[in-house]
């Protein structure tokens, strides 16, 4: 236990020189290129980068869904090559089970672990409350909005109390207002649980609103361009979005990101014109 405490002040998650290539021969795409950073116990880190820079690939590697990669993702001394019980994943696409009610969705991981029904319902209830869906426990996903379904997914991941919460653009499909308010919810939860969190996003305000640190990625091949510390006070709410410091951070990171995003756009434009020339 004591040694655990010592370590906990250190890194909960180490990403060490990770490389992932897809395809072979002439057609090799390097999706993730020598990426290294760490996430400390209780820290909220965001990875931000333009579309196609390898964020989801990194997410899948850390989650253990993509076992074949170079370098090492480590939790403690363990190199990840398959899903690890300490990691809980929230996916980019909507991922609730349409045939289960909200509470049965959230209790699902506990059901797999063989937790007794009454305890499982209690624990599910607790996390449903936490994401603010208490009055929808008996509802089916088809009766919920997109934002509510994402909250169900988050509660379902939190219920098994993962050491590390890993989220891939969980709010990408939502409008800006909903996103800011859900951001508040996430901040609250993270502070309540002291939850170590790695958030993948392409949304700048979201990243600054939520994070302790932001890892800025380059566009193809996906490298770490810069790591920015966000020294905004905690506890935080979406009110920080209006502050000067917030604007300062957004501007600073946008400076880095703009270059990458425009490279990405130029890339897809030239690909499109090549296709047009061929077709």
């Amino acid at each position: 236990m004591a040694s655990n405490m010592n370590q906990s002040a250190e890194a909960a998650l180490v990403i060490d020189d990770v490389v992932k290539r897809f395809g072979r021969g002439q057609e090799i795409v390097t999706a993730v290129d020598h990426v290294s950073f760490t996430v400390k116990q209780g820290e909220f880190v965001s990875v931000i980068g333009p579309s196609g820079c390898g964020k989801s690939t990194l997410f899948n590697i850390i989650g253990g869904l993509l076992g074949d990669y170079e370098g090492a993702v480590k939790i403690g001394d363990e190199r990840i090559s398959a899903p690890h019980p300490a990691v809980g994943m929230v996916f980019q696409e909507e991922s609730t089970f349409p045939w289960r009610t909200v509470i049965d969705n959230v209790a699902f991981p506990l059901e797999l672990q063989g937790v007794a029904k009454s305890e499982r319902m209690d624990r599910a209830h607790h996390f449903i409350d936490m994401v603010g869906l208490a009055s929808f426990e008996k509802a089916f996903p088809s009766q919920l909005s997109g934002g509510m379904k994402q909250r169900v997914s988050i509660a379902r991941t939190l219920v098994s109390q993962p050491k590390i919460l890993l989220m891939d653009e969980p709010f990408a499909a939502l409008d800006e207002q909903t996103r800011l308010l859900l951001g508040d919810k996430i901040t609250q939860i993270q502070q309540q649980l002291n939850q170590t969190t790695l958030l993948i996003t392409h949304n700048l305000t979201e990243a600054v609103q939520l994070s302790d640190r932001i890892v800025v990625m380059t566009y193809r091949p996906g490298r770490v361009k810069r790591i920015v510390n966000i020294d905004l006070p905690r506890p935080r709410t979406s009110d920080v979005v209006g502050s000067d410091a917030f604007g300062h951070y957004v501007a600073e990171i946008w400076n880095d990101l703009r270059e990458e995003a425009s490279r990405g756009m130029a890339d897809s434009e030239s690909a499109a014109s090549r296709r047009a020339a061929h077709g």
Binding site: L65, W99, L112, S142
Partner: protein
Amino acid sequence: MAETFLRRRAPELFGVATLVASVLVFEALVRGGVVNRYIIPPPSDILLAFERVIVEEHILTRCRDTAIEMIIAGGASVLVGVPIGALLYRSSLWRRAMEDWIGALAAAPIVLAFPLFLVLFGRSPKTIIVMGFVHGLAPIILKTVEGLASTRPVLINVGRSLKMTPSQMFWKILFPSALPVIFTGIRLSWTFVLITIVGVEYLINLGGLGQLINELAERYDLPGTYAGICFVVMVSVLFFVALERVEAWLQPGR
């Protein structure tokens, strides 16, 4: 109030009205001599024949016989078809090898093969049940494969991230996700089963509702024959409405 009720029920009312209108048109055509009444009896005669058919022809026993055959054949095609579908989903080689054949089986007019089945199983309910089963099998297999294969990849990833075993993955994610499509297969299959069962009963003059129609036709009781046919149609409509209810009840929230 009355107006909204009418508007809400408009499709049903329109359907009933169309039916009544076409019955009246037939009545007029037959009575006017445009249609030969020895080919199509006037609808009013058919309506009157209903009582006779129901009272004198042991209709309940016949319904029961057909229903029992239906339940055995339909049940067997589900119990055999779903596991075969699951196996085909698992093995892409089998799937590619078999899918076209099973598709052909679904499209084949199996009723015409009744002499073969007659030789194999004799003039008994066994023949009827086996033929119904064979005809009902293909749609369930195909729809089971389709349903399992259309499971959203992200749901499978959720299962992988939770370290689910293959059997948990099947029973807790793949199967429930495929269920609506499998139900479509069951509805399709049971339509085939019913057609085959009533058809074979008619052809080999044995058992339930199909035989009833055969007997009435051989007695040249045309209004009775048509009443029998209408009765079968009505029973099957009721059956499939009930099936839809069961389906909705089994899958709340979809």
